[in-house]
Each structure stands twice: as C-alpha cells, then as structure tokens.
Amino acid sequence: MTLLSLPSRTDRDLYPALMSPQLCAKYPADHKAFVRIDVSLRVYWHTLFDICPELLELSGPDGMSIFRPFMAWAGEKKLAFDWSYYLWVYVWLRESPFKDRLLADGKYLRSIMGASAARWAVLDRGRNCGLVIGCADSTDFVVGWKCRSVRFGREIELIAPEEPLPAPPDIFGYFTLPTFELDIFPGWQSLAR
C-alpha cells in the first residue's frame, strides 16, 4: 500500500472526495481511502444509470463521458444532490455535446423526470404526499406519490394533459401536493440547487 500524504484517518477526512471523481484521483489506487471514495462514487453512478439506463446509449457502456463531467459541473455549482439529481443531469446534458440526441427522443426526459419524482417520493420526509414535475421541453408532466398503504410502494404517474399547464419559466418546475389528490396548480417553483 502506498504511503498517503493526505489525511485519511476517518471518513470525515474524505468527505469532499466522496462526491468528486477529480479529488478521488489524488489518492493512490492501492490505498483503502481510494477504495472508500470509489465505493461512494459508485453509488452516485448506479443511482443515475441503474434507474435511467437509456442514458448509457448516449454515453457508451461505462457512462463516464456523462458521469465525470457532470459530477465536476455539479461540484462547481454545489448541487445539493437531493431528489432533483436527475433533473440536473438533464440540464447538463442539454448544454453538452449530447444535446441533439437527447432532444431527439422523449424517452430520456420521461425516464429522468420519473426518476426524480420517485426519488422525492422515497426520500422526502416532509408532510406533502405528492410532487409534480414539469419541463419546458414537454407538455407531459410526472407525479410522484409517496407510499400510502402498507401493501404498496411509491407510485409514479406520467400525465399527458388535455389542456396543457403553462410551461415552467426554467427548464424544470415543480410543485408539491398536500393530499393524495392532483387538484391544484399553485404555479411552478424553480429547482433549488
């Protein structure tokens, strides 16, 4: 094992690197700290590509031509990596060389919006029951519902409204639902970073 000049006594010494492929590269590959960081980065990778495998068609099978530059961009923007993780990937892709292929097929956007709605439904601990996500690139929207019965999990709905809602002012907008009814449109909120 190579001697390491960077502190690595505890997880805490590695926190910034746990979400940064560039910082990871500063650790020697045969050191436990590198493996620890690699484990963390793999979870970000799998959270993206296991849930939205279509994206691998754009990037190639290892996903790295999306993953590495996206994570670097996310680091600069200090993205919170909350439920909106996937939506920010779309925002980045829209500015990337993948843009034309991304916009040519609606399946990427549907997968991304569904993934973010599901992540909210699984991880949010506020009192709201549902989350609606809309996108300026589509009139369809996606609703994520939290688990409402002991027998079922969260549910995701893709809705193609007969009367489209106004487009969100940014690429994405969202609003939350205080009950299990989709009966309000309080206007779109912009994504927080």
Binding site: M1, S8, R9, T10, D11, R12, D13, L14, Y15, P16, L18, M19, A29, D30, H31, K32, A33, V35, R36, D38, V39, S40, R42, V43, Y44, T47, K78, L79, A80, F81, D82, V122, L123, R125, R127, C129, K146, C147, R148, S149, V150, R151, F152, G153, R154, F180
Partner: protein, 275 residues
Amino acid sequence: MRLGFNFTLGDTYDMVQRLIAERHIDYCEFLIDNFFCVEPDELAKAFDCPIGLHIMYSKFLEADRPTLVDFAARLRDYIDALNPIYVSDHILHFTHEERAFFHLGEVDYSREYEFVRDKVLEWQELVGQRIHFENYLSIMDGGVEAPAFFERLMKETGAGVLFDASNAVCSNRNCGTPFEAWRNVIASARHFHVAGYRNSLIEPFISLDTHAEALAPDTLAFLEDFRSVFDKPGATMTYERDDQIEFDDVVADLKLLRNLFGESEEKRHDLAISA
C-alpha cells in the same frame, strides 16, 4: 432471543406475513419514516406481531429544530399507535456542506463526541423517549474508536445501542476493531441487527453492508462466541435483507439464528401453555 425481519416497503408484505404465520420471526421492524403517509392505525393492524421502529432519515445531527419537532410529532403518532418494542435511529452524516452523500458518512468519534451527545439528548427529549442508536460500519481506521464512543454515549445520555453484529464484523475486517472491544456495548444492548455483507469490487477489499446475501461464516462465528452476551430477556435480533429477497434464503438464515439462540423465551412460554 426474539427474531425479526426488516420491513422497508410494501413489496415484501406477503413474505413477512408468511414469516410470521410460519413462526420464523417473532416480531417485525418497520423502517418507520418510509410510512409517514400511511395511517398509524393501518400500520398497527398490518402484522399480527410485536413491532420495532427503525428511523432512517430523521437526520437529527443536521436537521434544524422545527424540522425535528415536526418529525418527532409524526413519529410520536406511530409510537402511540404501535407501542413498539424499541425505537432506533442512526448516528450518521447525510450531507457535507449541504450536499447529500449517497453512501452515508461516518462521524469522527473523537472529534464529534460532544456534538453528537448534545444532539442525542435533544432528539430523545423531542421524541419523548429513549432511542437506540445503531453502530455504523467503519471503513477508515478512526472506526476503532466506535466502541468507546457508544459506551460513553449510553452512560451520558441514557440512550441505548442497537448493535448491528454484521456491521461490527465489517469494521473488524476493514479497520481491525476487535470484537472484544464491543463486549460492554453488546452486554448492555437488547436490540440487534444482523445481515449479509460483501466485498468492494476493487482491492484492497473493504467489506460493505449490502444486506443482499446470506450470513457470512465470520458473522455466525462472532454470534456464537458472544452468544451469552447477546442473549438476554427481552432481546431482539432483526435479520435485515434489502436486496435479493428470496423467501427460502431468508428462512435458511433465520433457521441458523434460531439454532444458535434457541427458541425465544416468549415462544417457549407459549409452547408450555399450549402443551
């Protein structure tokens, strides 16, 4: 030792019913904050067995007070409706500089002790009862400080430890924390977890609590060596499985645990009455 199974989402509902009906388990552990939109009464009627409540995302080290007050109020409704055997939570960092970890961060046991102790006191006061905090799987060498940290925390806050035996096995493999160092913690703990783990994909290998495979031989050996320290009146051990959940595989592991610990006291009592 009473044996239980972790119930995290609806997919395993029928399987848990069968585990209860066939008496492979004696209680069920809800990952309770996954069910905050399900009526407490519905949860109370879901399974005909005692219940433990395990909290995943209170984030009590990081959340602001109004958020914690609201979380505690909702949790309280479930505690009142379900009268759980125990309530447990995690001492972990979920974010760094407000950016979320997807693989959670261990606390620094020496530098953050006072901070954690004060938060634990505040959190128990808000929830209105004793909470059992789970030991995390350590990877880096600072993990050897975990046993002393938990001992001191119990003494100074009245909190309990939900001792995860396979996390201790992983810590032993990853950073050499001796099993013997946990003896006092295990002796004072009444609630336990156990699960499978696997190695990282790259070397030098580290062991990770994947909850997706069978119990490892070294986990079973650890339980066997410390059997009398684990087992005590009222003790519970939850078998955690979050992936690759096959009924027969789960039952095979539960049977190993049953053989190791024998029938639970409560069940022996039951049998005596019906005999």
